[in-house]
């Protein structure tokens, strides 16, 4: 049971970061980035490149992938989102769906990446290293994942709540016109937001990499679980996104742990949760009422 819980929190950390990324892009551009999951996959693969090509260890690869993710995000905003925004919100959403197609099939074309998932070296020791806790064995890597999730949350918190630049970005997202009036560069804030979101995707894809492998065609599944997380927790609330992510991870592992349940049926059940969540509590567990309905 505890084992399932830890396993759930581990995969849930990945979903939490995807949900947060979706939240940040939504705040900045008012649209949902359907490609967030694909960027998570690509981020993990970038880390793999650092490991394989530059012989870096996973820590360095994590830093490298995160920075590369930020640059990729800036480019995504500049080349795709900004021009598409001129054609309206629907066009913008469609553009992110186009990006799904590009990344989902494009990463298989990159030499060294391929279409099959590959392992990323463990952060410390071996992937299978485990800690024996009162008879329950817990993967050391899982603990790293949780610690790194907390680190990311702390950094984001300090950035958005304690720095001038972070506050400016929030102001620009809340009220672009007002922010412009007081001299905030809204265009720049938007672009940095998207950069951050994609950096977060790369970070998330890397930290869960040693356990879940990197690459493969699972981006859409990761993205939709990020949505489920964000919608269950509250798309408008960062804390809700994290909570939702962890919850989705735990629910998924618990369903898979039930005796006699086919492994593959957990995904449709989790997706159905999204529809139920939308119907029952559209504002999420944490979220202001009236924020969602029209």
């Amino acid at each position: 049971m505890l084992q399932l819980l830890v396993a759930g929190l581990t995969v849930g950390s990945g979903y939490a970061l995807v949900a947060l990324g979706i939240h940040i892009v939504l705040r900045a551009t008012r649209i949902i980035n359907f490609a967030q999951g694909e960027f998570t996959i690509v981020g993990g693969l970038l880390a793999l490149t650092f490991v394989e090509v530059f012989r870096a260890n996973t820590w360095v690869a994590l830093a490298g992938a995160t920075i590369a993710g930020f640059v990729l995000g800036l480019a995504f905003e500049r080349i795709v989102l900004r021009p598409a925004a001129r054609s309206g919100e629907m066009a913008l959403t469609i553009a992110t769906i186009g990006m799904v197609s590009i990344l989902l099939y494009g990463h298989a074309l990159v030499p060294g990446w391929g279409s099959l998932p590959q392992p990323l070296p463990a952060f410390t020791g071996d992937v299978s290293d485990a800690l024996d806790l009162a008879g329950v064995s817990i993967q050391i890597q899982s603990l790293w994942v949780l610690a790194l999730l907390l680190l990311a949350l702390a950094v984001l918190y300090v950035f958005f709540e304690r720095t001038y630049y972070g506050k400016a970005i929030r102001a620009a997202a809340n009220d672009p016109v007002g922010a412009r009036l007081i001299g905030i560069d809204v265009t720049n804030a938007r672009s940095v937001s998207v950069g951050l979101a994609i950096a977060l995707a790369a970070y998330g894809g890397t930290i869960i990499g040693p356990i879940t492998l990197v690459g493969g065609a699972g981006g859409v599944v990761i993205a939709i679980k990020g949505f489920v997380a964000a919608i269950i927790g509250g798309l408008e609330s960062p804390a809700g996104c994290v909570l939702g992510g962890l919850l989705v991870g735990v629910i998924e592992k618990l369903i898979q742990g039930l005796p006699g349940v086919s492994y593959g049926i957990s995904d449709p059940i989790v997706y159905a949760l999204l529809l139920v969540g939308l119907l029952v509590r559209p504002q999420g567990l944490i979220g202001a009422r009236g924020a969602v309905r029209d």
């Binding site: 649209i31 629907m90 186009g98 529809l275």
Partner: protein, 583 residues
Amino acid sequence: MIARIGADTRALPVLALVVIVFGIVAAGNPTFAQAGTYAAIYAIAAIGLSLLMGNVNQISIGQAGFFGLGAYAVAYGTTSWTLPPALSWPLAAALGVAAAALAGLAVGFIALRFRGHYLAVATLAFGLICVGVFHESALLGGAIGIQNVPYPQFGPLTISGYPAYWFAWAFAALAALVSINLLRGRSGRAFETIRNDELAAEVLGIPTRRYKIVAFAYAGALAGLAGAIYAAFLGIVVPDAVSVQLSITLLLMVVLGGSGSVSGALIGAALLAIIDISGNQFENSREVAYGVLVIAVVIAAPGGIFGLIRARINAPAAPRRSSSPPAEPHAAIAPPANGRAPLAVSGVTKRFGGLVAVNDVSFTLERGTLTSLIGPNGAGKTTLFNAIGGIGDLTAGSVTIAGVDVTGQQPHRIAALGVGRTFQNARLFGEMTVLENVLAGTFRRRDPERIAVERAYATLERLELAPLANTLARDLAFGDRRRVELARAIAADPWLLLVDEPAAGLNASERDRLQRDLLALRDDGMTLLLIEHDMRLVMAISERVMVLKFGTLIADGPPENVRNDPGVVAAYLGTAVPGTATA
């Protein structure tokens, strides 16, 4: 709108000819025939999605789910039932289409409770749930799916290979015709108004939600039909074939061809079918190219290929009046049948959080009178209008229209009782002509098209707007916009009309016109409630004036009484501070 659908009806015969010529050419070429058949299958699904995206502004990334329902229904039904071959495909296909339509209703119902982006996520979830269930269901063959699906058989004719081309295109033609029919006339106008301005559509009596849900069901049914043909044509159905990629590809077809048009869907589907077949050996790069293409199209040509073509097709003539004399000249307005007061508002209160915008307001309007509602900015006048019209929930109180309690009813239901409304900022349907705007105003009368056109022209003439009939609403001058909105509101002969600041921004002569028009409507028997700031106009035409201040009714009576009411004067000019007033 007429331009949009008109261009479609002009382009379709050309496209039909292309399909026929291609079919004849493809007779000896299996690859051509195969690409052409795929084009038809995709086209059927794309036509539905195009209506959903282009006419009710909803994205669906779950069309593969509906497609899968149709495909699996056929695969399962034809392989496991013991029925004569001529029966099994039609029956299984019908079941699949029905299942897909029902699923569309359900998804539409769930999704429409939320704003756009939640909706797209819900459709994506639906698609993934379907694939997951197909994948896990032993009945449907799990990951390997269902194989050896028999070809449809009608007597001696087996629908496989080349005949499948004609078979599939016959269904595509049917789908195109049904769509064109949905997009013209009364329902077409309703779809177009929803695309332009949902709220304005609602107050004309157009049930916007119902239209959107119907669009979902229709798009779902067509995707299901496409799947049903696909399963029989290919002879095998696997879960991976109905994955998210198919949904994205369908979306791309619609975006590429131009959403909201049948021709665009056909063009997009045909192009992708050709690229699909010819790019078979370039797996992965092909899909990358699709992604690049879809982004390029939304950036560079949001109207898609047909959007570019449409600009070159001459706009067809607007509907003309029949030469026969007006079937129903502008008759005096029929009062509410039961003789009750047109409008009774009782204890209406509306709070926004801690702010009380309307506070315990009660009044009754007499039939055939013109009443003005005045008050300083922010007094809650428009909020009260919205409360009467069913826009937003009431905090307390009730609204009775002609004896019918309409508290909590949707705006379109209230409009359907015979209530018209204009907005402070003249919410016209910008992409529709003046005539089409007014035609949309006749929605609730359910007149045959000829009568509706007659009525719209008569309304335009009445307000001396006939010369502007074919001007696009977004190109109108400000004063004309207001008059067109009034025409649209009265086109269906409402007996209660709520007019929100009609004189704002009008010049002196326009204001005189407005005064004449409003009085004429009253003399026809219409009951009018007017929000207005122009005191000269208010005092000149009102039989009764009500004053709202901070949400509370502070005065109510004939104009001359209200004008001299000390409370009203204070509300507008402020009171002198005691002790300083004397000088």
